[in-house]
Amino acid sequence: MRREGSPFQGLSTVFVKELADHISSVRMLMLELLIVFTALAALYEAINSLRQNTAEDPFLLLRLFTIDQAPLPSFVAILGFLIPLMAIGLGFDAVNSEHNRRTLSRILAQPIYRDALLMGKFLAALATIGISLAALWLLVIGLGLIFLGVPPGGEEIARSLVFLVVAIFYAGVWLSLAMLLSIVFRSPATAALVSLGVWLFLSVLWPMLAPAIAQAVAPSDPRYALLGLNDPATAIWTQELLRLSPNDLFGEAMLAVLSPSTRTLGPVFLDQLHGAVMGAPLPFGESVMIAWPQTVGLVAGTIVLFASGYVLFQRQEVRA
C-alpha cells in the first residue's frame, strides 16, 4: 500500500532553515576562512609564477587553478584536500544533534515525512558548499583579471565551470558520508572522528598503500624492471585501486578538464599515440569526455552513500 501525501512536504521549510543555520554559524565562518586563506596563498604563488613566465599560454586562467609553486600545492589540489573537510564539518552532526537536542521527535510529530528532513538537510549543506565554492570561483577569476590583466576566453570559463560542478559533487560524496555517520553514531564527536579518519586515510594513506597493494596483487615482471619500465599490469592495478578514493577521482577529473592537453588518464600504448600532436590542447567536449567516468563515479558515490543513510534513518527509532 502506498503511503499518503508527498515525501517532499516540508522540504523547502527544512532547506531554508538549515541553510540559514549553516550560513550564520561560526563553524561555517571558520571553514570558509580556512579555505579562503589557503586558496589565496596558493593563488598568490600561482600569479607570481605566471607573471614571470610571461603569458604565452592560451589557457592562462586555467593555469591559475593548476600551477603549483613549491612548497605550496596548486589551488585545485588544495581544494581537493579541503572540500572534504568542509563537507564533513557541515554534515557530521546533521542527525545525531537533533537526537541529542531532543528536537527530532518534536519535528517528526509535525505533518512531514522523515524524507523531507534528511533531504532538506543534505540539500542545504550542499547549497552552502555550492555558494562558498561559487564565491571562491569568482574570486579566482577576479584576481586573475586584476593581476594577469588578460580577459578569460569562453572555453576557459566553460572549463572552470565544469570544475565548479565536479567540485560540488565531490563535496556531495563527503557530505553524504558524514551524514551517514551522523545517523549511525549517536555521538557527534564519534561521527566527526570517524569521518575525519576516513578522509585522512583516503587522502593521505591510500595513495601510499595502493601501489603497495598493487605490487602484492600483480608483482611486476623483473624484465620490465631491467628495462627501467613499469609493469603495465601493476600500473593498471595501482590506478584502479587509487580510483576507489574520491580524492583521486576528483584529481583526475580536474586534470582532464583544467589541463586541456591531457589526452588520457591511464597508461597508453605507443601505437595509440600514433598521429597525436603532443602537447596540443583537446577541444572542450573531448576533455569533458575524458573526465566523464570520474564525474559519474563521484555522482554515484554520493547517491549510494545518501541512499544508505536514508534507509538507516527511516528505520531508526526516534526516541532519544
Binding site: 500500500m1 503511503r3 499518503e4 501525501g5 512536504q9 516540508g10 521549510t13 527544512v14 532553515k17 543555520d21 537536542r101 531532543r102 528536537t103 521527535s105 518534536r106 519535528i107 517528526l108 510529530a109 509535525q110 505533518p111 512531514i112 515525512y113 527509532e317 526516534v318 526516541r319 532519544a320
Partner: protein, 328 residues
C-alpha cells in the same frame, strides 16, 4: 439494523483513539504487549507506570513514529501507520523532556514548526503570538531558547500544540523535573486545554498529579495495561474499598472497637493514638460513636479520597513484579 449503524457512528465519533491488540516487539523483547483501550473525545486520559513499561512506545505508535508489530490503532479514525500526515496534522505531541533549537528565539522555534504544519504566514504570526500569551511566554518571545528554564521549555512545547490547534494533545511526562510551582502552572494549562474540548493523553509516573487531572487512567506494567478506569473505580477494585478513614483518638481498645464496625475491612494502627480504617462506605459517624463508647477522646476524624498512590502501591504489592525493565 439502523440502530447498529447509529451505534457504530456514535462510537466512531466518541472514541478519538482506539487500540486493539496493539503490540510492539524489538527482536525477541515485547515492549508493548497486545494492549486495548479506547479514549473518548474531551477526556483526559493518563498512562501510568514505571519507566520502561511501554508508555512512550505506545504514544509513538499512535503517531506513526515507530512501527506497529501487530494489532491496530486508529487515531481520529485514521491509521497512523498508513496515513501519518493526517494524524500528525491533528495531533499535537509534547515529547519527554522536549528540546528546541537553542540558538533561535521562542518565536523562531515556533515559526519553524508552524511552517512545517503548512500554516500561511499571517496565520502563523497571529497564532504564535496568541499561543505565547496563553502559556505566559509573551515577555520572552524574542529571547533565545538557550536561556529558558525547563518549565519554560515545557510551556513552549505546549504553545506549539496550541498553535497547531490540535484535537488531541499527547503529553509525555510533561511535569517530570519541574518545580512545584511550574508543575501547578502546567497542570492549570492542561486543565484549560480540557475545558476547550481537547482530548489530552498524558503519560506520567507522578501519581498525585495524574490523579488530580485525569478522568481515567491506564496502569502499565511490563508492556501490558494491568488496570484501567476512573480512579474511584480502581480504588474499589484494588483496595477493596472506596474509603480510608483516619482516626486520631485516645482510649482503651479503640482499634478493636473500630474493627467491629460493619463495613470496615481493615484497621491499621499507625501510632498509639492513630488508626487508619479501610471501609466500603463512609464510616465516620460509626467511628465517632465507637470512640465515644469506650470513653475515648476524639481528636481528629478524616476521610481520604482514594489515592492513586495507594492503589499503585497496593497493586504492585499484591502482585510482585518480576521483571520491570528500567529503560529510558
Amino acid at each position: 439494523m439502523s440502530d447498529q449503524q447509529n451505534d457504530a457512528r456514535r462510537t466512531a465519533r466518541d472514541h478519538v483513539i482506539t487500540a486493539r491488540g496493539l503490540t510492539r516487539r524489538y527482536d525477541k523483547t515485547v515492549v508493548v504487549d497486545s494492549i486495548d483501550f479506547d479514549i473518548a473525545r474531551g477526556e483526559v486520559f493518563g498512562l501510568l507506570g514505571p519507566n520502561g513499561a511501554g508508555k512512550t512506545t505506545t504514544i509513538l505508535m499512535m503517531l506513526g513514529l515507530t512501527e506497529i508489530s501487530s494489532g491496530e490503532v486508529s487515531v481520529l479514525s485514521f491509521n497512523p501507520a498508513r496515513e501519518p500526515l493526517k494524524v500528525k496534522r491533528r495531533v499535537g505531541y509534547l515529547p519527554d523532556s522536549v528540546g528546541f533549537y537553542d540558538q533561535l528565539t521562542a518565536t523562531e522555534n515556533l515559526a519553524y514548526t508552524a511552517k512545517l504544519m503548512g500554516l500561511p504566514r499571517a496565520e502563523r504570526v497571529r497564532r504564535i503570538e496568541a499561543a505565547l500569551v496563553r502559556v505566559g511566554l509573551a515577555d520572552v518571545a524574542s529571547r533565545r531558547v538557550a536561556t529558558f528554564s525547563r518549565g519554560m521549555r515545557q510551556r513552549l512545547g505546549l504553545a506549539e500544540i496550541i498553535v497547531k490547534r490540535a484535537e488531541i494533545a499527547i503529553l509525555d511526562e510533561p511535569t517530570s523535573g519541574l518545580d512545584p510551582q511550574a508543575t501547578q502552572e502546567f497542570l492549570g494549562l492542561i486543565g484549560e486545554l480540557k475545558s476547550e474540548g481537547i482530548t489530552v493523553l498524558l503519560s506520567s509516573h507522578m501519581l498525585d498529579q495524574v490523579q488530580r487531572i485525569c478522568d481515567r487512567v491506564a496502569l502499565f506494567q511490563a508492556g501490558r495495561i494491568v488496570l484501567m478506569g476512573a480512579v474511584p473505580e480502581l480504588a474499589v477494585k484494588v483496595l477493596g474499598a472506596g474509603f480510608v478513614v483516619e482516626v486520631e483518638a485516645e482510649g482503651l481498645g479503640i482499634a478493636r472497637r473500630l474493627a467491629m464496625i460493619p463495613g470496615v475491612t481493615q484497621v491499621e494502627t499507625l501510632a498509639a493514638d492513630r488508626f487508619r480504617m479501610t471501609a466500603e462506605r463512609d464510616v465516620r459517624p460509626d467511628a465517632a460513636r465507637a470512640v465515644v463508647a469506650v470513653d475515648g477522646s476524639l481528636r481528629r476524624l478524616s476521610v481520604d479520597e482514594p489515592s492513586l498512590e495507594a492503589i499503585y502501591a497496593r497493586y504492585f504489592q499484591v502482585q510482585p513484579t518480576g521483571d520491570v525493565r528500567h529503560a529510558a
